[in-house]
Assembly symmetry: C3
Homo-oligomer: 187 residues x 3
């Protein structure tokens, strides 16, 4: 492991908390619905959801450090702003899920591109963004296939999940990668 | 007073004008409704509303200068952009008032955090943001209690006002504080 | 011509592609409807629409260079981000077209102001933004008058086109001007 245990834990906690906030918006808006009540719930989410998002956040952070040396410099303001940016996009997806999927997807894709341009980071960051954009939706498609949850009919055109979901995960991957860089920089 | 009379007047005018624009959006969307027609109206607002916002803007600007020395440097572009940012968030609140309050509030909170991270300013700015986030909603709760105006049922869960209202005022407080700094810097 | 043929072609292609993406959102959401099926269609657009947007993009780029020397410095990230920003605003117009026109217009105007403040460029950029904000809506009003297309009743208060349309074109003009500067800078 290139991140220290406490750093991995911090990424896990940040990711799990962010997943809880974002997922609550999806559930409250009706973007997604949990179909299986067998597992415990925390706030609006099945317990496994924030755990998965936390693990994904720590994994992408670790991946980032395997892809090359992190950029120097620690900026708490950018760290906070990057988390706020991805949570803002997450909330927008909850608010536009019942709008036509075309312009909703265009908006989320462009916001994700703006986050990527803002945070930068070159090829390693891009790989983290793309990895998240692939693995995240594939995992959610599996969740839908397992009848654990479903997306609303207005937002399920990508194999059962929303067409904008890869863009949301793309932004998430960039942010997780940037946070990992900051954790190393502040050692 | 640490701001000169003409500077206080300018903050008052900017705040009153911004309040008029933002409030017109709230009234036109149905976010808020004036219940008392006894006072004169200007555009969509009861006359006292832009006056209160103007006074709040000047007060926060004055508060900023009592909290510590302002940052040097005058940047008209940032001044204009900061006003535009808070009016954009104001307009978003008008557009999402009938959406589920959870994700709508998450969006407004995160946009306010992004504005705060962008404008910076340390503890004095944070105090101004928090002061606005407390005093503004309390004043509006009093307005609702006095039956002068009401928020729509979909946006009244914070003692009669919207749950996202403190976040909107938080961003407003940061912008008012930044404008006060700019006014001193351009003397 | 101050832009080289290949540079003009690139601006045309970028503008036409962006016009196709943005217009698809408008058509899918119901913001606009084509009334004349006599011309060929590409994706959701009558063929002449992306051609017009492409020509407008190249024209504004050329106009920018006639207005004064371009700023030095090439930044691919800013170029990509500026295109993403205007497409994001375009998508927002599609999503809010059936909201009250007042706050929707305030939001689009303020987002356009933020784009202008971000890209900067002084008087030449402002002229490009204003030229686009006038010529674009006038051309679309003519299109509506010719019964080739129409805006939804909730977004047609500016002589048949949407009240927020000049602001969308204003942002577009700033971006086209910035892209022209970048093209010269990377020669």
């Amino acid at each position: 492991m290139r991140l220290q245990p406490k750093e991995l834990l911090l990424l896990f906690v940040v990711g799990a908390a962010g997943g809880l906030i974002g997922d609550a918006g999806h559930v409250q808006a009706g973007t997604t619905t949990y179909l299986d009540d067998a597992t415990p719930f925390i706030w609006e989410s099945a317990l496994w959801f924030p755990i998965l998002v936390g693990l994904a956040t720590a994994s992408i952070g670790e991946l980032r450090l395997w892809l090359g040396p992190p950029r120097p410099g620690f900026d708490a303001t950018v760290a906070v702003a990057s988390i706020a940016a991805v949570l803002a996009i997450y909330a927008v997806t909850a608010l536009v899920y019942d709008e036509p999927e075309g312009p909703a997807t265009t908006l989320i894709v462009m916001l994700a591109v703006l986050v990527a341009c803002w945070l930068g980071g070159g090829t390693p960051a891009l790989v983290c963004g793309l990895a998240a954009a692939i693995v995240g939706p594939v995992a959610e498609i599996a969740i839908v296939e397992l009848d654990l949850a479903e997306y609303a009919p207005s937002a399920d055109s990508l194999g059962g999940v929303a067409l904008w979901l890869p863009a949301l995960y793309f932004a998430f991957g960039y942010v997780a990668a940037r946070l990992a860089e900051f954790l190393v920089a502040r050692r």
